[in-house]
């Protein structure tokens, strides 16, 4: 009787071990198959390309309301000599308003948060649009633009972020 009980206990123990092993196996599968994040190739690609293309396209765009000058000329004037006047508006205000309009109608419409800065010295931007201050997930692109004024270089930086 005692021997029979011992055998039954051993069998129960064996079953319990099998159940525990199965459970661990299932946990392993759940962890590495179901909870594995889906690779978002498109998002990674889009954000990197987007930041780069946005600035390069913006720089070459002609401002119809400002003698057909390119935005590159307007940004350079804004950061250096500030002589260009676009129908009574300074180059800085004109470039800021139109850049904000373009970004709102593109990045804003695609539900992407952004921060744009144009600066000679990073701590003192001449143009600042949007904010990524509260974000940890930022894709950034900086374009250096030579100004030909005292050898200074203007930097245009666009951050695309997830808030």
């Amino acid at each position: 009787m005692k021997r029979g009980m011992k055998r039954a206990q051993m069998e129960a123990m064996g079953l319990a071990i099998i159940v525990i092993l199965l459970f661990l196996g299932m946990l392993f599968v759940v962890r590495f198959v179901f909870l594995k994040p889906v690779s978002d190739y498109k998002e990674d690609y889009t954000r990197t390309q987007l930041a780069s293309n946005m600035i390069s396209t913006l720089l070459e765009t002609n401002a119809a309301e400002c003698m057909g000058l390119s935005f590159k000329d307007l940004f350079i004037d804004c950061a250096t000599i500030k002589t260009i006047n676009c129908e009574g508006v300074s180059s800085c205000n004109f470039a800021r308003d139109k850049t904000a309009f373009i970004f709102d109608n593109t990045l804003g419409e695609w539900k992407k948060s952004y921060e744009f800065n144009a600066f000679l010295v990073e701590d003192d931007p001449v143009i600042n649009i949007g904010s990524c201050a509260r974000s940890d997930d930022i894709t950034s692109k900086t374009f250096p633009v030579p100004t030909a004024v005292g050898g200074a270089t203007l930097y245009l930086k666009l951050d695309i972020c997830v808030l």
Binding site: F34, V38, Y41, E60, A64, S70, T106
Partner: protein, 167 residues
Amino acid sequence: MALRKSQMKMFESVAVLIIFFILLVFGFIFYGNVAKHRIRTDIQEAIQLQAIEVAQRVSFLPELICTSGEEIENYDCIDLLKLDMASQIMNESKESYHDILGYTTIRVKEIYPSNREWELYSNPLGENKLSSFIPTLLYDARGSGSCSGVGRGRCSFGVLIVEVYSS
């Protein structure tokens, strides 16, 4: 007494078999779900890669890109003179473009200074689609002034919108 014992043994065997089959069924259901999940993830990734591929192909289409001088090509730039003709030709010869563009809708939208839109190619399939937006220069050689990097004319800010459909 012996009969009862053998009956008990038989019941035990049947119970073990039932439990075995129940576990087997659970195993199959679990494996099925894992496989389904993995296939769905693979399909999603394949569609994303396809969307990137098509977007790349469209932005390098010789029917659209700007040229300055004789043969120098400017990528990320669409020639508006070419665009007007390309939108007619591409929609008229959908079968020829199907091999390279598949089930997609391609549009070009001018953001600044004006707000025009062109539909280049439309070959939709179902409701599911992935959209890609590519900022691009729109070059108009008829405009006055100069567009640096391309030539005489006017450059405006536009977006190439590529929507890839997945059934």
